[in-house]
Symmetry: D2
Subunit: 314 residues, 4 copies
């Protein structure tokens, strides 16, 4: 049985694994992401790959990485969250360094592929994945194939315009979904509501230093699971925006399934219930249009790694 390596390059760490044809991760390796990017980043990736390649006979390497990947998948066009990546060629220098075929893929695309083949999207020809982390990423499976678009940058769901002249986004535009439904938006909302209502937020505040500014993202999920009203209302708020965004994506892409991944999905139904309710409320032709199922991702933080490894096999 052939093995491949998947490597997920994130803002803080590089996580690699040897993956079999069933999507099982047999062995792992990791490095910190060098802040200087460029050559140091290539070296760190090669170190992870070489360590793994020394432990198993592998055929190829798939890279999952945040940012716009060129349509020939050789080069990073832009990467908003990882330093020193804009315009960096990845495929050729890595292939030279590690003597294996390398395939580069956007991280949300890789995760969508991983979920489609081994996770929450099995058996489903048309699906979309939204990863709700600090920002929002997206991937599309169309007719069972990864849909990269013409220039390799399809699926940027975080930049749907939810509000004309709305909140300014890091992308230079205004009103993007990422500003209303991401982990960052969840945190901002929770802080504001705690500030406005310190008494109701006592449980949430007790998880940090007692002040709204001391709230961390993980506190909100924890407090919501324990029934904290402010934390729950913050999840309802971002679920409402998320459902409105998914309603738009349903009109455009008509997926059978919508998979929600990323760190924020740890809250599971606390996020999904208001999301589904908003989808129903906002869906055009709601009584006639088939409604996509909104489900949690199954592969967790390994989705990108596993997906990239499988793409490298094809």
């Amino acid at each position: 049985m052939t093995l491949t390596i998947g490597v997920d390059v994130g803002g803080t760490k590089i996580l690699g694994g040897v993956v079999d044809a069933d999507g099982k991760v047999l062995v792992k390796a990791r490095q910190n992401t060098p802040v200087e990017g460029g050559l140091a980043l290539l070296t760190a990736i090669a170190t992870v790959v070489n360590e793994l390649a020394s432990k198993a006979k592998v055929e190829s390497v798939g890279l999952s990485i945040a940012g716009f990947v060129s349509s020939d998948r050789s080069t990073m066009l832009a990467s908003p969250n990882i330093a020193g990546l804009d315009g960096l060629p990845l495929q050729k220098p890595l292939e030279d360094a590690i003597k294996l075929p390398v395939r580069v893929e956007n991280d949300a695309n890789a995760a969508a592929w991983g979920e489609a083949i081994f996770g929450a999207g099995r058996g489903c020809g048309h699906l979309i994945l939204l990863t709700i982390g600090t920002g929002i990423g997206g991937g599309i499976i169309t007719n069972g194939e990864l849909n990269r678009g013409a220039f390799g940058v399809a699926g940027e769901f975080g930049h749907l315009r939810m509000v004309p002249n709305g909140l300014r986004c890091g992308c230079g535009s205004y009103g993007c979904l990422e500003q209303y439904a991401s982990g960052k938006a969840l945190l901002r909302t929770a802080k504001e509501r705690a500030q406005a209502n310190l008494a109701d937020a006592s449980r949430l505040l007790s998880l940090g230093d007692g002040t709204p500014e001391g709230i961390h993202g993980s506190h909100i999920t924890q407090a919501a699971l324990a029934g904290d009203e402010v934390a729950l209302s913050a999840f309802r708020e971002i679920g409402d925006w998320l459902g409105a965004g998914i309603a738009m994506l349903s009109m455009v892409l008509d997926p059978e399934r919508v998979i929600i991944g990323g760190g924020v999905i740890e809250a599971s139904e606390i996020l999904l219930a208001p999301t589904r309710s908003a989808l129903l409320r906002h869906l055009p032709y709601a009584t006639k249009h088939p409604i996509a199922k909104v489900v949690p991702a199954e592969l967790g933080i390994e989705a990108g790694l596993v997906g990239a490894a499988d793409l490298a096999r094809r």
Copy 2:
């Protein structure tokens, strides 16, 4: 060379044609669309087909029709603009009546296919089409294939939510693109601006009965081509919304080309120039994201017929 028949079923007329493998329409036939729908509609379609089939040896029939087509393409799920079509089986009764294989397709999908194969989208693997008529329809070509989505209803671009809590749409939702950038929106905008500024609209008003209420859609294009400021400002307004919508679609689908069809495109650059300008202004990561070309459709009102005929060949 094999021939097929394409039939475009619209709200007022049924237009059929015998089409060759180069997309050329060799002979045409037409009937009025019966207002009672149902059996009368099936009969009228069969009449058009039989008339054409008597004049040329054809292999199959493609139907282009507004509304949601079931994913097996046998039945109309819903058709907002044609009476008596909701839930109507089309494929089987027509095949029984005309003794030829029948393929049913959403009209904007058929038009997108027609443009992709024979028109403004030749040679382009990833494109979208927006038809700007009374409402707004859409079609998607992904990797050279028609992208129907999981339930056959992808590409409903007219129902992107442009404005939260915005104008009420016939679909039951609020703020849909169709309410801001369709021919109907163009007409509403022109009437309002003429009413607010009768003097500036004198040329536009002179084409009708002299009152804002007497303005017709065709007058606006005509007046705009003649330099009427009110008509031009109405086109700028809908072009601005259209560009903002296309910016969203670019983030989701990343097309290489965006084809604008439908009656309103007769205004050509008067509509396209503000549309392109708005796309640039609203596109996230504008300096890094590849920008789709926005071009006019080439096949005119025959796009659906020609596309359906070609789909019937496959």
Copy 3:
């Protein structure tokens, strides 16, 4: 003790009363509002006044009437809801007919005055009144005086723009508060939510003919008081918009009290609780800006009549 007559001219009936200096209505009379407006309307008003004047010695007459009253208060500039009133002189023909001094006032202004002197606004120098009926009217008391503005048409709170490019309003603009927080908006919202969720709305639907279309405004209040979730959610929705509107009015006018009148206030705290909560959430500088008290009107449907009678005394 001097007595005056107050007459409230509504869309369906003309209600008059003899009012004493304590705001007490001593005797009443009524007529239907003639649909043809004009002279018929003047005659009907005179009939009401003459009937009352025959029963008590009165000094003057105050008219409370929906619409824009000219700044000299002699003429109706426009009246969206009563036929045959646009441009109609009122003061002079009525004074000729009834031989008493007549003072014409916008109905919401008259109600605001009534509440300020005899009702929920006693002792308060700066207040605003919003009447939530089919539409939304408003009145302003500034430094203890009725604030009519320069042209007599201040206080049109129903036309605050809540949503740019939002719902079209009868006034010709888009996104007006009246489209989101009036009785009409409450009814639309309740119908939509009942349609989307027939099971949850069973109690609400049972008050009418069982269908969403059969819901009347009074059913929503009744069902909400009985705990119907769809009815309650409709009140929360319009309360949210109302609170956002009051937040704006607080920034502009800085009232001490905000009085909510009109038919919809029968729901009392069911409307006021979400309104106050939204006011807090939307108020700029929420922790530093003094917050107006939001209270229900006290004079009910006689507020306009009583206010107009008192204004006629001054």
Copy 4:
């Protein structure tokens, strides 16, 4: 003829003047605003007053200062733009220090009064003033009197909500007019448009260091006066928002005149023309509602000082 002193306390300097009953400034004095606020600020104000009082026999002192002034006008409730002012008593300590009666007034209120008595509002009983500087302030004259509202904080026009869920404002709310129509908004808009279109902005860019980031507010006015298209379009954008805001204020306050002051008004008609056009376009009942005149302020940067001095006389 009695003389009074007016002192305008701004974020960078304290400007005082001896003013006669005709609003003429006879002699001036100034100090820098101490960054530590508190006692240092009181001392600096007293220094300015004492210097002026040594040169002319004055009766009283009026202070014009940005922020919320308590309703008894003795204390600053909050001052977003001047350090060390929140909760600071002003009237008593200053009266103790300078042995003259002191009256404290919000700066935009003072400016509105100044314009009403000596400037663009002469003879007008109902007017509003908007000062468009870094932020947006406002003042209201009702029936010839300064309208402070119940708590002294009326006229905060900069915090009208223009966009639900819009740009975050320093006040803690979202979508405030100040984020769309202030000098800060003008600068942001000009920078963005220059960035998007370096060629068209060449004249604007040439006034600074050649980069969009190097654009200063004064460059935009200068470039616009010279016909620079990017600068003009930035003014059109903020004028459009300003007109929409004034349309709301017209519905609420029904002023006869709207006076635009602040640094941005140096652009005069370049700002006022699009503002008036937007007011017409956005005004509810546009054909029936009287339309306020939008005019530039006449007193320039001395409006607050002159207004405060005159208020101190009363």
